[in-house]
Amino acid sequence: MDLNATLIVQSITFLIFVLLMWRIAWPPIIAAMQARQARIADGLAAADRSAAALADATAKSEQAVSAARVQAQDILAAANKQAQQLIEQAKNTAQQEAARIVAKAQDDVAREVGHAREELRKQVGELAVVGAAKILKREIDAKAHADVLNDLAARI
């Protein structure tokens, strides 16, 4: 337990170790730790920013979706209205066309009837002449009796 030169050797060794630790080992370790701390802080800040950006984007997309939904409703309503109008228009056109066709048909019918009646009248006149001629058993001069026959035909 007596003090001896070991004391001096230990003191010198101690100071050398402290010096090496202080000058060589310590700075890179501390620098690396601080750099890592900064990186982690940056990473956490970036994560926060990303989360905020995500929330922002979600809100924006929801807004866009709801706006699109409103727009779609508008477009749908407009389209319905237009379709209704088109149907209405087509109906009107069809009705007009139908009326025109009917009118034309009636016209045609009337004309045909008139025509047929004229024809019939003529044929009846001729038939009457033929009949009368047969009844009278004599020839009737068609030319001579044209006035009579026409009068007869007009009366039928």
Binding site: N4, T6, Q10, S11, F17, M21, W22, A35, A38
Partner: protein, 297 residues
Amino acid sequence: MAAEEGTHDSGSYVVHHLTNLKLDLQTMTLNEHATGFWVLNIDSVVFSVVLGALFLFLFLRVAARANSGVPTGVENFVEMCVEFVSNQVKEVFPGAGSLVAPLGITVFIWVLLMNIMDIFPVDWFPYIGEHVFGLSHLRVVPSTDVNITFGMSISIFVLMYIFSFVYKGPIGLGKEFLTHPFYIHAHGPAALVNIPLMAVNVVLRLVEDLAKPVSLALRLFGNLFAGELIFVLIAVFSSNAFNHGVAGFIGFGLFGGLIQFLWAAFHLLVIPLQAFVFMVLTIVYLASAAQSHGEDH
């Protein structure tokens, strides 16, 4: 455990375990009876330097590979130690320069490693030393050598004065030496009372300052020396197992093994605690050396 010492009596066994392997620097021969200052405790120096170099190598390796990426196993351990000591320094000595934390970690890990040598059974290394290397004595726990603990505490004492000079300047330090703790604020002839008080102040300051390295060194030495001594005594007790037949073998062996285990378990608490206390007190002493005492006179 102590079978190879069976021919010696207990007293010489204990003394043998507490004797360093000494190198007489005047004759450059190994001599366990060497006395005087120019003697080197080879075993203490070698184990101390090897343990210190071990941890320094570890730190230098980590420092060389240090990067801000994901730390691996050893890096994690080293950085944990660095963080731990840095926090202690921040708490105890705010405004410390860059030297205090590396000094603290050197003290802490080196003392811890030296103390851990105490856990090895007391006869392992001396047996290897004697039978493989032919060494007559071998003490493997450097912190049970008062030279080692004083070597560190005296270095710290010198650093304390360097800190005082750097932080306060020679005038500030001189003023503190002369006027602390006793000083009378007075004008005229009454101020002369301060002259005898200065002498008292200097004496008090010297005692206060010298007590620091002495208590620092003796605390560590005392704790570890006592622990080592008890390990040796337990070994002596257990060695009775070979002298009292089968019953003695079982009885002494089991009981000796049990108390050996219990004391080692208890010592596992003492080892880091003493290293921690040594480090914290080093930081505290350096802090008090750098900061001025109380009010400014």
